[in-house]
Amino acid sequence: MSDAVLEFRDVHRTHGTGPAAVHALRGVTLRVRPGELVAVMGPSGSGKSTLLNLAGGLDLPDGGEALVDGVALDSLSHRRLAAVRRRTAGYVFQDFNLLPSLTAAENVALPLELDGTGVRAARRAAFAALGDLGLGELAGRFPDQMSGGQQQRVAIARALVGDRRLVLADEPTGALDSETGETVLRVLRDRVDAGAAGLLVTHEARHAGWADRVIFLRDGRVVDTSGPLAAAEDLLEHHS
């Protein structure tokens, strides 16, 4: 079906070669539609970050297909792939990945500016996104002047700013207390309800509870899916 923002078809990914090779994903099939938030859970090393990297075009599958808006990512030129990463997908990294020489607001505005938005408009959008996450006061701080949890929220603002259709978040609540984590999930949920597709890696069930569907990964395979009937329909469709 073409209405999915993100689609994986029997995706495989092996890291490394020879005896050291790790088969991180072993045939993952999934689909995320606009307005749908899918959570990915699973033990450490089960392939969650690998899956998210493939979804964001930061890495390419070596078997099967990863499609964004119906287009296979490995068919794109470097330039078009870079445009997907900037324009379509917003990514919250497990380790935040903020640029240390830029302030919070500059970090958040950067993807918009890279994409041709004027500096002032980009800055305005950045302030709004920071405000939504309760960081309005810290817009002028540099990453090393903020706590881990604050940096994490700046990274989330950066992923949500602008008009991303696909939001990918890798443990976005890792460094946060449960109340602040909740704020982040609410903001993410609002964005998805406004029409984005979301993929959220988390090891906290209470945060996965915000998703429409929860996928359990183990050793690179989906072992379990929890969600409304639509998910079951998906599986049936794929195996018939």
């Binding site: 069930a205 209470r206 509870g209 929860v214 359990f216 989906v222």
Partner: protein, 189 residues
Amino acid sequence: MSIRHGLLALLERGPMHGYQLRAAFETSVGGTWSLNIGQVYTTLSRLERDELVAALPENEGQRPYAITDGGRAELNRWFATPLERSDRPRDELAIKLALAMTTPGVDVAAVVQGQRTAGMRALQEYTRLKTRTGPDDLSWALVLESMIFQCEAEIRWLDHCETALLRRRPAPAPASATAPAPDREEAHR
């Protein structure tokens, strides 16, 4: 928790008759625990027998009840005493899993996975309900939070069980070591 103490707490707000008590009970726990009117009246008559509540004169066919000083003391004692783990009903799920482990022919991993999916679904439902609570629904929101935390704990425990089960499984024979686990493939078809 006992219905007794629930009713005493509600009567502390002022006298109420059975139907009012039932409605107030459901509002304060947000419909997570519904009482039938028979339970309410049985409990009221036991409370009256123990002199923890007193029946007031009938009014328009309904008999209101009021909390007594003894009832108030009992209520304070209840609030002041932490619940012991052993006061709560036995954990049926843990018992079920223990039985599954020791009963031949039972796929314990499937029991664990099925239960985790159900727990996750409940958690999703409670979260959805929580997003709909307003600022003046704090008591209901906190009851929901409690159920969310319980689901979370149960899901973590089930994750733990699954890992322990996998570890316990004997290592596959060398010849089949690289073949994909067929049982796992079947699990989500």
